[in-house]
C-alpha cells in the first residue's frame, strides 16, 4: 500500500512538472526550436565547409543530441530551484507524502522532455538525409546510451537546482552544459584542435558518450578508437555521474530540509 502511494505521489508530481513545462510558452518553444534550428544551422551553414568525408549530418547528430540534453538539464535545474524558492515545496512537505517524490517528479519530467527533444533531433536528421544503421540492436544500444546520459544529467541538474541559491544562479548551469559539447568531438574531430584543448576534449565525458552513439549508428568513431573502448568509458562516466549526482541530490535534499 505504501509503495502504491509512493508511485501515486511521484506520478502526480511528474504530471505537474510536465504541465508546467508545456505551459511555459517561451521554454517550450525554445526546447522545440533548438534541435531544429541547430540541426539546420550546423548541416547547411557550417556543414558545407566542415564536410571532409560523407555528409556532415552523419557526423553531427550525436553531438546535437548531447547539446540539446545539456540545454534540457539546465531547464530542470532552473525549474527545481524556482520550486524551492516558492512556497509550494513547503506545502508538499507538510503533507503526508513521500518527500522524495518532489525530486523524482522533476527528474522524470526532465527525462521525458529530453527524450522528446532527442526524438526531434533524430526525426529532423532523418528528414534531411541522415542515414544511420538499420540494425535494431545497435539502435537499442544507442537509445540505452542516451537514456543513461539524460538520466545522469537530470540528476546532476537536480543537485545543481538544490545547491543554487535561486533560479537565476541555477541558470548558469545551462551555460556550462551548452558550452562543453563544443570542446568535444560533437561538431569537429579533435585532431584540428591545439594540444591543450585536445587533451581536454578527448578526456571529458561528452566525447566517449558521443563517440559511442556515433559508432553504433555509423559504424566508426571519429577518434579511431573501437566501439567497445568508447562504450566502456562512456558507461563508466554515465553510471558514475548518475550515482554521484543521485547520492548528492538526495544528501542535499535531506540537508536542506533536516535543519
Amino acid at each position: 500500500m505504501s509503495l502504491a502511494y509512493a508511485v501515486t505521489d511521484s506520478r502526480i508530481m511528474i504530471t505537474r512538472c510536465l504541465r508546467r513545462s508545456r505551459r511555459d510558452p517561451e521554454a517550450f518553444f525554445t526546447a522545440l526550436m533548438l534541435p531544429i534550428m541547430l540541426m539546420l544551422l550546423f548541416v547547411y551553414v557550417f556543414g558545407g565547409e566542415l564536410k571532409d568525408s560523407g555528409s556532415y549530418v552523419d557526423y553531427v547528430v550525436p553531438g546535437l543530441i548531447v547539446l540539446c540534453a545539456g540545454f534540457g538539464a539546465g531547464t530542470t535545474a532552473v525549474a527545481l530551484a524556482a520550486d524551492l524558492a516558492g512556497g509550494i515545496v513547503d506545502r508538499f512537505r507538510s503533507m503526508p507524502i513521500r518527500a522524495s517524490s518532489i525530486l523524482l517528479g522533476q527528474v522524470a519530467a526532465s527525462l521525458t522532455r529530453n527524450l522528446l527533444a532527442t526524438a526531434l533531433v533524430i526525426g529532423v536528421g532523418l528528414g534531411i538525409g541522415w542515414r544511420p544503421t538499420t540494425s535494431v540492436w545497435r539502435w537499442v544500444g544507442a537509445v540505452a546510451m542516451i537514456v543513461l546520459f539524460i538520466l545522469a544529467l537530470s540528476w546532476l541538474a537536480a543537485a545543481v537546482g538544490l545547491l543554487a541559491g535561486g533560479p537565476e544562479a541555477a541558470n548558469s548551469f545551462t551555460f556550462v552544459l551548452m558550452f562543453l559539447p563544443y570542446v568535444s568531438t560533437a561538431f569537429v574531430p579533435t585532431r584540428t584542435m591545439p594540444a591543450a584543448l585536445r587533451g581536454f576534449a578527448e578526456n571529458q565525458p561528452f566525447t566517449p558518450i558521443i563517440e559511442t552513439m556515433r559508432a553504433l549508428w555509423m559504424g566508426h568513431t571519429s577518434t579511431g578508437a573501437s566501439l567497445g573502448h568508447e562504450a566502456w568509458i562512456a558507461g563508466v562516466w554515465g553510471v558514475g555521474i548518475l550515482a554521484l549526482s543521485w547520492a548528492g541530490a538526495a544528501w542535499l535534499f535531506r540537508r536542506r530540509f533536516a535543519a
Partner: protein, 340 residues
C-alpha cells in the same frame, strides 16, 4: 485509537519548551503553547519574533533544537508522518502552483492526499463553490487576485478536514475587502470545529478571529489570554498626552524614565510614545484621581502643557507595551498602522 484520542485529549496542540536558534541567534527561547480542540489561537508578534519559525516547527518543516510537542495525539519528533496526516498548512506566501488552474491545483492536492479518484472530482467541485472560485476554476492561478489565491490556498488546506489548521499571516498584503472575505471564511472554518493556529501582525485580525491571543516576542510567549483579558490588563483607560513640540515631549518622556524604577501613582511611565506626533500614552485605571496626579506630574516636569485624550486600550496598546517591556531602550515608536 482515533476515538480514544478524541475523548481523552482536550488539547490539539501541547508544546513545551520549544527552542530554536539559527546560526547562534536565538529565535525561540522556550515556547510553551497549548491549544484546545476547536479553538482559534492568535499568535501575535512583531516581524522577526519567530512566529513563522514556530509554525514551521509545529508543521514538521523545521526540527526544534529543544522541547517537545504533541499534535493531535502524535509526537512531533517520533511521528512526523502522523502529524502531517493531521495538519494543513496555509503559508505566508500562498503555496499554490501559478501555472496550473485552480481546479488542477486542488485535484493535485487531493491526489497527494490519496482521496479515491471517484470522490476527488466531487470534493474539488464542492470546495471551488464553497470558496467562491467556481467561476475562476479553469483559469491559471497566475491570473488570480491576492484574495483569490489565499482562498485557493485555504481550500487546498480543507480538502480533507484537518485536526489543526495553520494560518501563517493569512491576510498579509490583501486589500481590506479581501481581508474581510478571508476573515469570514476563517470564521466559518472555526465554526466547523477546526482548531486553528493563526499568526498575524494585525492586532485587529486577532481581535476579530481568535478566542485566545498569545504574544510572542523575544523568543517567548510574554502574555496570553482572551483579547478582553489582555486589554483590561493595561487598565481601564489609556491617557494620551500630545505635546506641542519635540522638546516638551522629550522632557516629559525623560521624567517618565527617571521614575520608572520606583513607580508611584503619579508616574509618567509611557506604554507607548511617538516622537513624530509628540504623544505619550499612559495606562490608567480611569479614575479622576489618577488623571489629576498624572497632570500634576506633567506640570512638575516643566514641559509645555499637553492636550489630553483618553481611549479604551486596544490590543495594539497591549502589544506595544509588552514589546516595550521586552526591549526597554530606546523608547518605542508607534509603527504606522499597516494600511493595505
Amino acid at each position: 485509537m482515533y476515538d480514544i484520542y478524541r475523548l481523552s485529549m482536550p488539547y490539539t496542540v501541547v508544546a513545551e519548551g520549544i527552542r530554536k536558534s539559527f546560526g547562534g541567534r536565538v529565535v525561540l527561547d522556550g515556547v510553551d503553547l497549548a491549544l484546545e480542540r476547536g479553538s482559534v489561537l492568535g499568535l501575535l508578534g512583531p516581524n522577526g519574533a519567530g512566529k513563522t519559525t514556530l509554525v514551521r516547527i509545529l508543521a514538521t518543516l523545521v526540527r526544534p533544537d529543544g522541547g517537545h510537542a504533541t499534535i493531535a495525539g502524535h509526537d512531533l519528533a517520533a511521528d512526523p508522518v502522523g502529524v502531517r496526516g493531521a495538519i494543513s498548512l496555509t503559508g505566508q506566501y500562498a503555496a499554490v502552483d501559478d501555472v496550473l488552474t485552480g481546479r488542477e491545483n486542488l485535484e493535485m492536492m487531493a491526489g497527494l492526499l490519496h482521496l479515491p479518484r471517484r470522490t476527488r472530482r466531487d470534493r474539488v467541485a464542492e470546495l471551488l463553490a464553497e470558496f467562491g472560485l467556481a467561476d475562476a476554476q479553469d483559469r491559471r492561478v497566475g491570473t488570480y487576485s491576492g484574495g483569490m489565491r489565499r482562498r485557493l490556498d485555504l481550500a487546498a488546506s480543507m480538502i480533507r478536514r484537518p485536526e489543526l489548521l495553520f494560518l501563517d499571516e493569512p491576510t498579509t498584503g490583501l486589500d481590506p475587502r479581501s481581508r474581510e472575505q478571508l476573515w469570514h471564511t476563517v470564521r466559518r472554518l472555526a465554526e466547523q470545529d477546526v482548531t486553528i493556529l493563526l499568526t498575524t501582525q494585525y492586532l485587529e485580525e486577532a481581535d476579530q478571529l481568535a478566542d485566545t491571543v498569545a504574544m510572542l516576542t523575544g523568543g517567548q510567549i510574554v502574555a496570553r489570554g482572551t483579547p478582553d483579558e489582555l486589554k483590561s490588563s493595561l487598565g481601564a483607560e489609556i491617557v494620551r498626552l500630545r505635546f506641542p513640540d519635540v522638546r516638551a515631549w522629550r522632557t516629559a518622556l525623560a521624567a517618565g524614565g527617571a521614575t520608572r524604577a520606583g513607580a508611584t501613582a503619579d508616574a509618567l511611565i509611557a506604554e507607548d510614545a511617538d516622537e513624530q506626533a509628540h504623544t505619550i500614552d499612559i495606562a490608567t485605571d480611569g479614575s479622576a484621581t489618577r488623571l489629576r496626579a498624572l497632570l500634576t506630574a506633567v506640570a512638575a516636569t516643566g514641559a509645555a502643557t499637553p492636550r489630553v485624550s483618553t481611549h479604551r486600550p486596544s490590543l495594539d496598546d497591549v502589544f506595544l507595551s509588552l514589546i516595550a517591556a521586552a526591549h526597554p531602550a530606546p523608547p518605542p515608536r508607534r509603527a504606522p498602522e499597516p494600511v493595505q
